[in-house]
C-alpha cells in the first residue's frame, strides 16, 4: 500500500503551528481546527454503537478507552461510566485501548488525544454517560418493537431487558435488532441517585488478573517476525552532540546488525536486547559539548538562589508576576518570617524504561508503544517520515508507569525509534529499548526549583504581606502548548492558593532561567514544589503566631471562602483521632490540584536519623467518586510516589553529567518504608475531578510539618535523607 499523500515539510510545519495555535492544553480555547487536521487519513469506520462501545454476539460489552492505562486505574472508571448508563452486567464488561484518532478520541479538556492532567474521568464523564445511555436506548427500542410494548415500561438490569408482562431478553438475544436502531443523539441520562455501579466498591480493575499472571502486554514484551532491537548511545551531557564515533568493537558483538548515527546519538541495531546492549556499551563516541550544559546542579541552584535574593540581576530574564494584590512593598514593622526551599531534579523512573516499536516502510507508519499523547506522537512521526499525521497508526499498550514521562512535546523516544526504523526501512519492526541507565540519565526531569518566601504577620498573627519568589526552568517554553501569559505549570498551587487569597498584600513573582537540561511534568507538576512551599510555610507562620496549625488553616480558609478545604480539614481531623504515642509527631497538609482537594495527617518518627512515616490519614474531595477503590489506590500510590521523592529523590549533575544511573543511586521507596494510608472520600455530587495526581504533593509538607513539630526545625531542602 503506497497511497500515502506526501505533504511537504512545510505543510507539516503548518499543521504543527495549527496545533500550537489551536491550543493543546487544558485551559486553552480555540481548538476546533486541530482534531480535523490531525485526523485526515485516519480510519473512522465504527460499529453500530459508535467508537466507544461494541457488544459481541455473546453479550460481552467492550468499552473503548481513549485514555491509556498507565496504572492510574482509569480503565475501570471509564468502563463503569458506560456500564452504569447501559445497565450492563459489570462482570461481562471489558476494556480495550482506542487507536490514534484525534477527532474521535480527543481529550475534551486538552484539544488533543492524550492522557494527562488527571483528566480522564473528568473529560469523559458526560461523553461516556451518553454512549452508555444511547446503547441502552437501542436495546429498549429493539425490545419494545419485538414485544409490541411501550418503551417506557421496559427496564434493564445486568444486561437483561425486561417487561412487566414477564417478557425478558438478554443483550445477546436482542443484539441483531438493537444494531438496526439509530442511536439517539440526546439519550436520557439516569438520575445519579439511581446509580447502582458508579460510586460502589464493585468498580474494580479489569486488568488485575492479567497483571497478576504476567500476561498483560507491555511494549517491552512485543515480538514481531524479523524484529530488530535497538539501543542508542546518548550524550552524557544535555545538549551534547556526536562529534565522531568508533563502532569497531560494537560491530564485533555477535548479534549486532548495524550501527549508525541518528539525531539523538548513535544507534545500534541487533537481533536481541542483550546483543544490542553489549554493542551499545562497546561504542566509543566523542561528544561535542559546545552547546551542552556543563554546570553542576549545585552551581545551577546557587544561581537560582542569587536570583531570588537579588544578589544577581536577572540580566536578559525578567520577573513575572503570578499573583499580586494590595501593596507590593512589605509594611514597616511586624513580625517577619523568611523561608526558602530547594527542590532537586527528579526522574520519573517508571518501572518500565522508555521503549517503542516502529515499522516504517511504504505503507502507513506503525507505532506500538504506551502512547500518552497519540496526537503528538502522530505529529512527530509524520514530521520525520513525511506523511499526514492521521495516517500514522498507533497501537497503545499498557505502560509500566509514566507519571508524566511518556508525554513529551517532541515524543522523544518515539521520534528516536522512528528515526531508527526509517533508517532500517522496508517496514521492518524495530523495538527501541532504553536501559534503566538511559531512562535515569535521559532527562525530562521535574525541574530544579527554588522558592523564597517572606511573610509579614499582622497584629492578629495572620499574614499581612506575602512575598513569594519562584525560580524554576519552564516546562512549557518552546512547546506547542507554550506562549501563554505565564507558565502555569511553574506556579500552580501557589497561584490561586487560599492562603494568598486571605492575605491583604501579595507579591508573587516567577523567573525562569534556561538550560539544555530537559524538564517535564512529573506527577502533580507544579504542585510538587508549590504544595510544599505553601504548606510548610503555613506551619512556620502558625508557630510564629503561637497558634495551632489546624486552627490557623481554618481561619485562613474561612477568610478565603475555601469551603472544600474546610471540609477536607474537618474530615482529616475527625478521622485522625487521638494523638499517637510518644516519639511520633503529626504533620498536616492540604492542597488543591487538578480540581481536587487532598488533606493528609502524617504520623512521623525519627528512626536512625531518617523520618519513618507510619499512618497517613487522607481525605479527598474529587467531586463524585466513580470508583472509590481506585481513588483509595491512587491516594495510597500517590502518597508513596510523593514520599519516595521527599525522602530520597534527587537527580544531581556533576559538571553536567547525571550522577544517578540506576536504582542503587536513585533510591526509591520500598515496602518496609511505605506508610499505611487511610483514604476518606468527601461525599459530593459535583462533576468528577482529578485523582491520579492530587495524592502526590501533600505528603512531603505533611512530613516536614511533623518534623517541625518533632524537632522545631523547618526543612529547607528536599530530599529529607541525603546519604
Amino acid at each position: 500500500m503506497n497511497a500515502l499523500a506526501m505533504p511537504s515539510r512545510r505543510d507539516l510545519m503548518v499543521i504543527a503551528s495549527a496545533a500550537a495555535g489551536g491550543g493543546l492544553l487544558i485551559g486553552c480555547s480555540p481548538k476546533a481546527l486541530l482534531p480535523d487536521i490531525m485526523s485526515l487519513g485516519a480510519d473512522d469506520h465504527f460499529g453500530p454503537f459508535g467508537p466507544f462501545l461494541s457488544i459481541a454476539p455473546d453479550g460481552w460489552v467492550t468499552v473503548v478507552s481513549k485514555h491509556i492505562e498507565l496504572g492510574q486505574g482509569n480503565h475501570a472508571g471509564l468502563a463503569a461510566i458506560v456500564a452504569e448508563e447501559l445497565d450492563a452486567d459489570w462482570n461481562k464488561v471489558k476494556v480495550v485501548q482506542a487507536p490514534a484518532n484525534t477527532k474521535v478520541y480527543e481529550n475534551l479538556g486538552m484539544g488533543a488525544q492524550g492522557t494527562g492532567g488527571s483528566s480522564a474521568i473528568n473529560n469523559s464523564w458526560d461523553q461516556l454517560r451518553k454512549v452508555g445511555a444511547a446503547g441502552r436506548a437501542m436495546f429498549v427500542t429493539a425490545a419494545a418493537g419485538r414485544w409490541s410494548v411501550k418503551p417506557e415500561e421496559i427496564t434493564v438490569k445486568d444486561s437483561i431487558v425486561s417487561h412487566p408482562s414477564g417478557k425478558q431478553a438478554s443483550f445477546a438475544e436482542l443484539l441483531a435488532d438493537a444494531v438496526k436502531v439509530a442511536p439517539p443523539a440526546s439519550p436520557t441520562l439516569k438520575d445519579p441517585r439511581t446509580f447502582t455501579l458508579i460510586g460502589t466498591d464493585r468498580v474494580r480493575r479489569k486488568d488485575a488478573g492479567l497483571k497478576a499472571t504476567g500476561t498483560a502486554q507491555y511494549t517491552q514484551d512485543v515480538h514481531r517476525p524479523k524484529m530488530l532491537t535497538a539501543m542508542v548511545a546518548h550524550s552524557p551531557r544535555f545538549g551534547g552532540k556526536v562529534k565522531s564515533f568508533d563502532d569497531g568493537a560494537a560491530r564485533k558483538v555477535p548479534g549486532v546488525v548495524d550501527v549508525f548515527q541518528i539525531p539523538t546519538g548513535v544507534a545500534v541495531t541487533a537481533e536481541n536486547t542483550w546483543a544490542a546492549r553489549q554493542g551499545r556499551d562497546a561504542l566509543k563516541v566523542a561528544w561535542d559539548d559546545t552547546k551542552a550544559e556543563t554546570r553542576s546542579s549545585e552551581t545551577i541552584l546557587a544561581a537560582y538562589k542569587d536570583l531570588a535574593s537579588g544578589r544577581e540581576s536577572p540580566g536578559n530574564l525578567r520577573w513575572q508576576s503570578f499573583e499580586a494584590h494590595g501593596q507590593a512593598k512589605p509594611p514597616a514593622g511586624g513580625k517577619v518570617i523568611e523561608a526558602s526551599y530547594d527542590f532537586p531534579y527528579l526522574a520519573h523512573a517508571p518501572m518500565e524504561p522508555m521503549n517503542c516499536v516502529a515499522e516504517i516502510g511504504d505503507g502507513p507508519p506503525r507505532i506500538t508503544t504506551g502512547s500518552q499523547i497519540p496526537t503528538m506522537d502522530q505529529l512527530n512521526t509524520a514530521m520525520i517520515v513525511g506523511c499526514l499525521p492521521g495516517q500514522v497508526q498507533i497501537e497503545t499498550l499498557f505502560a509500566g508507569g509514566s507519571f508524566g514521562r511518556r508525554a513529551t512535546f517532541k515524543s522523544d523516544y518515539v521520534s528516536e525509534c522512528v528515526h531508527i526504523a526509517k533508517h532500517v526501512g522496508g517496514g521492518r519492526p524495530v523495538k527501541l529499548v532504553w536501559a534503566r541507565e538511559d531512562d535515569m540519565t535521559g532527562g525530562y526531569y521535574r525541574p530544579l526549583t527554588h522558592h523564597a518566601v517572606r511573610v509579614t504577620l499582622g497584629a492578629d498573627g495572620y499574614p499581612e504581606h506575602w512575598r513569594h519568589r519562584i525560580v524554576t526552568q519552564s516546562i512549557m517554553k518552546g512547546s506547542p502548548m507554550g506562549g501563554g501569559k505565564i507558565d502555569g505549570t511553574a506556579v500552580e498551587g501557589a497561584m490561586g492558593s487560599p492562603y494568598l487569597d486571605a492575605t491583604p498584600n501579595v507579591d508573587g513573582q516567577l523567573i525562569q532561567p534556561d538550560s539544555p537540561v530537559t524538564v517535564l511534568w512529573w506527577r502533580s507538576v507544579g504542585a510538587t514544589h508549590t504544595a510544599f512551599a505553601m504548606e510548610h510555610t503555613i506551619d512556620q507562620l502558625a508557630r510564629a503566631a503561637g497558634k495551632d496549625p489546624a486552627d490557623y488553616r481554618r481561619a485562613l480558609y474561612q477568610n478565603a471562602g475555601a469551603d472544600r478545604h474546610l471540609a477536607v480539614l474537618d474530615m482529616v481531623l475527625a478521622k485522625a483521632g487521638p494523638a499517637p504515642t510518644k516519639g511520633w509527631a503529626r504533620g498536616l497538609a492540604i492542597h488543591e490540584s487538578f480540581g481536587s482537594v487532598v488533606g493528609q495527617m502524617a504520623e512521623v518518627k525519627l528512626e536512625g536519623g531518617e523520618p519513618k512515616v507510619g499512618r497517613v490519614v487522607t481525605a479527598i474531595d474529587c467531586g463524585r467518586a466513580v470508583s472509590p477503590d481506585q481513588i483509595a489506590a491512587q491516594m495510597e500510590g500517590g502518597t508513596c510516589y510523593g514520599l519516595s521523592a521527599a525522602l530520597y529523590g534527587a537527580i544531581t549533575l556533576k559538571d553536567g553529567i547525571v550522577e544517578q544511573k540506576n536504582f542503587d543511586a536513585y533510591r526509591v521507596l520500598r515496602i518496609h518504608e511505605a506508610p499505611r494510608v487511610e483514604t476518606y472520600i468527601i461525599p459530593s455530587q459535583a462533576h468528577p475531578s482529578g485523582v491520579g495526581e492530587p495524592g502526590t504533593p501533600v505528603i512531603a509538607p505533611a512530613v516536614a510539618n511533623a518534623l517541625l513539630a518533632l524537632t522545631g526545625k523547618p526543612t529547607t531542602r528536599l530530599p529529607f535523607v541525603t546519604t
Binding site: 504476567g214 507491555y218 536481541n272 542483550w274 518501572m351 499498557f398 508507569g401 500517590g638 508513596c640 536504582f663
Partner: protein, 157 residues
C-alpha cells in the same frame, strides 16, 4: 553451542551464549515475557524467578551457571496460585509491570513460611520495587493468601 535449561518443568534447548543473563533468554529467545526488565543490576526485582525454589534475580543469572537448576517463572505457577487470587481480590496492581516479580518473591516466601509476620513480608519483599506504590495492598494480598483455609488454597492452587 545449544544448552539445556529446565524451565517450568520442561527441558528446553537454548542457543544464547553461556554468559547471557537468564532474563534475556527467557524474554527474547523463549518469549516468556512475564519476568520483566527493570534495572539489570538486581535492584528492582521485576525479573524475579525461582531457581530451585529460591527467589532470584534473573538479570544476574548467566545461563551457563544454570545447568540442572529447576527454573520457575510466573508462567510456571500452577493453575492460578492463591497469591494471584489474592492479588485480584485486593486489587493490587496499578501499572502492573513489577507484579510478576512481586508474586514470585511472595510465592517463595509462602512456600517457606505459610504464615509470615509483617516483618517476614518486609524482609522477603524489600528487594521488589513498585513505583506505583502498591505496597500496602501487596502486604494485604500476601496476608489474604496466607489466611486462605487449606481447602480453599488447595482448591485454587
Amino acid at each position: 553451542m545449544p544448552m539445556t535449561l529446565n524451565i517450568n518443568g520442561a527441558d528446553v534447548s537454548v542457543t544464547a551464549a553461556p554468559e547471557t543473563p537468564l532474563l534475556w533468554v527467557l524474554r527474547d529467545e523463549l518469549q516468556l515475557t512475564g519476568a520483566k526488565y527493570g534495572c539489570g543490576i538486581a535492584q528492582c526485582g521485576a525479573c524475579t524467578v525461582h531457581l530451585d525454589g529460591v527467589a532470584m534475580r534473573s538479570c544476574q543469572a548467566p545461563i551457563g551457571t544454570l545447568a540442572g537448576v529447576k527454573i520457575t517463572t510466573i508462567e510456571g505457577l500452577k493453575g492460578l496460585n492463591p497469591l494471584q487470587h489474592a492479588w485480584v481480590e485486593a486489587d493490587v496492581p496499578q501499572c502492573g509491570y513489577c507484579q510478576s516479580g512481586q508474586i514470585m518473591s511472595a510465592a517463595a516466601l509462602l512456600a517457606k513460611k505459610p504464615h509470615p509476620s509483617d516483618a517476614d513480608i518486609d524482609a522477603a519483599m524489600a528487594g521488589n520495587i513498585c513505583r506505583c506504590g502498591c505496597y500496602q495492598r501487596i502486604r494485604e494480598a500476601i496476608n489474604i493468601a496466607a489466611a486462605m483455609p487449606p481447602a480453599r488454597r488447595a482448591a485454587v492452587a
